[in-house]
Amino acid sequence: MLNATYAQRGQRMSEQMEQLYGERLQRYVAAMRNEKPDRVPIRPFAAEFAAKYAGFTNQEVTHDIDKAFAAIRKCAADFDWDATVGNMVYVWTGLVDAFGTNYYTIPGIGTPPDAAFQYIEPPDEATAHMKADEYDAFIDDPTGFLANVWLPRISNDVVPPGQPSTYRNNLAFLKGGMAMLDYFSKFGAQVGALQAESGTVHAIAGCLKAPFDILADKLRGFRQLCADIHRRPEKVLAACEALRPHMMFNALSGADPTGNVPIAIWLHRGCTPFLSPKAFETFFWPTCKKIIEDIYAEGHQVLFYAEGDWNANLKYIAELTDKSIIFHVDRADIFEVHKAVGHKFALSGGVPNDLLTYATPDEVREHCKKVIDGVAADGGYIMDAGAIMQDDAKIENVQAMTEATREYGAY
């Protein structure tokens, strides 16, 4: 759906927008291939920031997907961004509340309307979505385990097999399925609208997570998983391996058939201080690396969205095939990253989010110039904040980041 042509989406794009879109796509793709485009592209990922800019509350964009999409389109048009993502407030209550999902607090329900949504990670064995003695069942049949055990645990409405079904159980699957269809149908239209209204490229297509992150985030909880890597390491490794083909299949199912824009991998717990380099090498990296290499062999780059500071793991990242990833820098020193792997991969990010929150526009401009001068001289760099922008980012600072990219980023 993300990759339908304009005609398929029933939308018309003016010649001017078509030309602008073509220029932006060429610029963005050249930079991601570690080549030198006409100028540095800018590709911010805006979540609650877009709501603030468009005049919506966090509650509005979390509940009303049309407002969330409209907010992004306004940002893309007003800021003149080359690429962005159609929606980064991914907890749409139209879906998660319809299914009875119980691991989020939602603005306007569990938190105030001006707060961002929160994920509630299982803090102990009693609340874990997968118990320590259930590894074998998961490894044997991951899809069956998710359908029969995991979904009933993460939904207030779904009952497990063997229990009497309920009205709410039946409706949870019906409403959840219809809501997901609705969401992705509208997402496809959003991609077309970004192109037609502002010539903006949709920055990514396809979603990937590292198997270890899935275990940590959604199944065991990070605290329990940290015990598992000492108490039952072979089970953790086998579970990561069981997840690997499914992660690959799901990522490719949403990928750009033209291979222009990358699949994004959102990396959570691979960096210090969550994992030591040894634990990373043993548990996190083998399956993550294999998936990325296999995806690249299928003709797709991966946006390696390295949340946190990954510099302790750069020697492992350098094992990946040249150009297989775009390395996104969050908290790390982007100049060190460039020195270590800049000859192999394009980089993005490197503008700390706290700078966008607390600094002045002049300080933001100065930092952006320093990044461009330091890592973008030969191309292979995409301007972006270190992490997804929430509503603490100042509008004038995001404007300064955009203007500095245009001012200093021409080749």
Partner: protein, 56 residues
Amino acid sequence: MPEHDKPKLQPGECIPWEQRVKEYARILGDEEVVKKVWKETDMLAYLYIWACLIQF
């Protein structure tokens, strides 16, 4: 189906065609047509379950 007869699910599958086809009394028309549509819709259910885990 006894647990030991349960086929291993591949990525993209919830109920494999090999299991489903045994449940029809007979297929009088083109089996490939039935198989294609079954697998495509089965994959949507698979993607729903995994999207809940990975994306939402």
